[in-house]
């Protein structure tokens, strides 16, 4: 298993700057059947950044994506996202536990704007399913 307790506390480099665009907000909203018309950016939007940070972390540690199941996700927002925001996300490994043959990886990611101000703090639990 490539992820072990020695990674706890490690923060990975922030993702490359990402500009929130109308087209992307509309595209993501449309997946749930919503017709986004320029109103508030849906609160699940920062997952785009969180996924990029998570994917980079899993790739850096050589974890096979198909063995990962998402255990939970929580968001706390300092302010709403806006179209035009330029955001980055930095992931920290908060915990690694082994439960019933699976490794349970707790992560936190901070989404910050171009001024470095925190926009959203998000946490995710990633469950690495052991070989059956």
């Amino acid at each position: 298993m490539p992820v072990d307790a020695s990674l706890v506390g490690r923060t990975y480099p922030p993702t490359r700057p990402y500009t929130v665009s109308e087209a992307k907000v509309r595209e993501l909203a449309a997946t749930t059947g919503a017709d986004w018309d320029g109103g508030p950016v849906p609160p699940t939007f920062p997952i785009v950044l969180a996924f990029e940070a998570m994917n980079a972390f899993l790739e850096a540690e050589g974890v096979e994506l198909a063995r990962i199941v998402h255990g939970d996700q929580k968001f706390r927002y300092e302010r709403p996202l806006r179209v035009g925001d330029v955001l980055t996300a930095a992931l920290t490994v908060a915990s690694v536990r082994s439960i019933g043959g699976n490794d349970v990886i707790g992560t936190t990611s901070e989404v910050r704007d171009a001024d470095g101000a925190l926009v959203c703090a998000t946490s995710a639990t990633l469950v690495h399913r052991g070989a059956a």
């Binding site: 993501l28 699940t44 997952i47 198909a66 706390r76």
Partner: protein, 136 residues
């Protein structure tokens, strides 16, 4: 003065129902960047021991967030989260599966309303402790 006058403690919010089809997961995978094949390939999903292709947990949470937006008239969300406790298996057919989002107003204080949600599919809870806090 609350911009969301209907959010009174104990209020039951109108249950929202959404149909999830395989094509929705494919769209969500592309739009969100979560390309994990367990969300589109039965072969890979069953290889890793899942009952079949399952919806992204975040897709189900996005449906819950859509319900919150509908109930509150797009109120500002300050907190949102859930555990992904049971998989939503999405068959490769044209019917899909239904996800139901129910909610109650658990508290309103300091300008914030806490909504406790119940998210089910086929009568089974699929999210654990789903919760949203909105400015009210």
């Amino acid at each position: 003065m609350s911009p969301v006058p209907d959010l009174e403690v104990g209020a039951e919010l109108v249950t929202q129902r959404y149909v999830v089809r395989r094509s929705d997961l494919v769209r969500y995978a592309g739009a969100s960047g979560d390309l994990n094949p367990i969300h589109w390939s039965d072969r890979v999903a069953t290889e890793v021991g899942l009952p079949g292709v399952i919806a992204h947990g975040m897709y189900t949470l996005a449906l819950a967030a859509r319900a919150v937006a509908t109930w509150t008239g797009d109120a500002e969300v300050v907190e949102l989260g859930a555990k992904f406790t049971a998989p939503v298996v999405v068959p490769d057919d044209d019917t899909g599966v239904e996800v139901e989002v129910a909610g109650t107003v658990a508290s309103v204080e300091d300008g914030l309303a806490t909504l406790k949600l119940t998210v089910t599919s086929g009568g089974q809870k699929v999210l654990g402790m789903p919760k949203a806090v909105v400015r009210a």
